[in-house]
Amino acid sequence: MGLTTYFRKKSPWLLHFNSGGCNGCDIELLAALTPRYDVERFGVKLKGSPRHADILVVTGPVTKQTRERLIRVYEQMPEPKAVVALGSCPASGCVFHDCYNTLAPLDKHIPVAAYVPGCPPRPEAIIFALVKVLEGMGK
């Protein structure tokens, strides 16, 4: 394991992108950052700019309007990067699977490292997923 990877694993920064979801996963991600769950214990921080981020957290079924933005945000992130699909929507479309304006699943558009199932997943499940993704990043 290289030195950079070692330090990156110590403090991964997240970028949250909502691709037209219902807000449920977004507030659970917010809850994971606040006192009760506090993912900052693992050095995880939410960042506003894709250029600072290591992990892209995507929520929502990909709508037609957000697709291009999503790909642009993904391309702006520096390597190595990982994508975590939060909730059932990016995995399969969930209840929106046959809506005319959604382009789920997410892995048709960008490569995905991990799916966190749940509608929405509990903050504990988000922590669990982030820990697992970090374990996988070093390999």
């Binding site: 037209g20 219902c22 449920g24 809850a31 606040t34 709508t63 309007q65 957000t66 933005r69 005319y100």
Partner: protein
Amino acid sequence: MTMVIPIGPQHPALKEPEYFRFEVKGEEIVDVDIYFGYAHRGIEETFARRNYKHNIYLSERICGICNICHSTCYSMAVERVAGIEPPERAKYVRSLILELERIHSHLLWLAVAAHQIGFDTLFMLAMRDREHVMDMREIISGGRVHSATNAIGGVRRDVTREQVPKLLENLDKVERSVNYYINLFQTDRTIRSRCEGVGVLTREDAIKLCAVGPVARASGVKTDIRVDDPYAAYPNLSFEVITETDGDVMAKGMVRLREMVESVKMVRQILKEMPNGPLRVPVDLKIPPNEAVQRVEAPRGELLYYIRSNGSEIPERVRVRTPTYASAPSLKPMFVGGTVAEIPIVLWSLDVCFACNDRVTLVDANTGKARVVTMEELRRWRS
């Protein structure tokens, strides 16, 4: 020289994934234009392809923050179309989770508003207290966010006697901190200097542009569907409609904070007076042709569902009008004349789920070159 500041388009709720273009002259905002549609998923069309029971879960996922309002409003509209009356206990359970949702949504509002004015301590405190409400919701409905409690003709889950002490205990904690926040909001220097006289919506504009919910109430318009068109257990509950007269961000915040106190009282009353009885009535979901309108006071204002049935198990048309959609036109008078630094808090004073909008592009009108600044940078500009 006017500049254009586009904000967006990462935005979560149903039809409110806004993309704003602000035209600014120096620091002053001259014009604002709103683009919708980034989270448009085509839900209204999908409603007309699934049966009544499956649509409950689709309506719940229109918005994750006010999901119970959506599913309750949908279920009550279908009950009205089918001409059935849910049992009394079901009405009380519905009111209970609706009020819990109002508390958690307003606490979320407070948290993010504190974040937008750079008061991160309050952000963390409010999010901490919100967890008590989320625990209560988890006890009652089995899910932290999406409740899945409503069914057509009643509710699926009961509030048992063993759960009540735990709920009351959490309620006490919430009430204590809400009273603390009200005191804080009225006295704290940071909050007052950032919120007073900012983003004013006058009473005339609020009426003219059909604002709803706390936004209208902060401008002195006494409108509340819980009183105007009572539903569920609200005819039996005692509460007062909170109004303020100033119409600025401070007034909108105070309306929400004082509403939480009323909601806590209402939850106590519901837990005390909840009648015994069955939870749901059996329903034949082949509903003959009919139509109905149902309105619910969601945390953000009036929510309207129109349903038309056609004799089959699938509705002919479901129309959803969400509160932010109704309040969006009133953003313009709130912004125009203000400064760039006020954008985040004024936008959030409407409670539009702006939390994940974090990037702003500045386009110089003369050179046409774009430069990206973050919301953090915008917040700092004032100092």
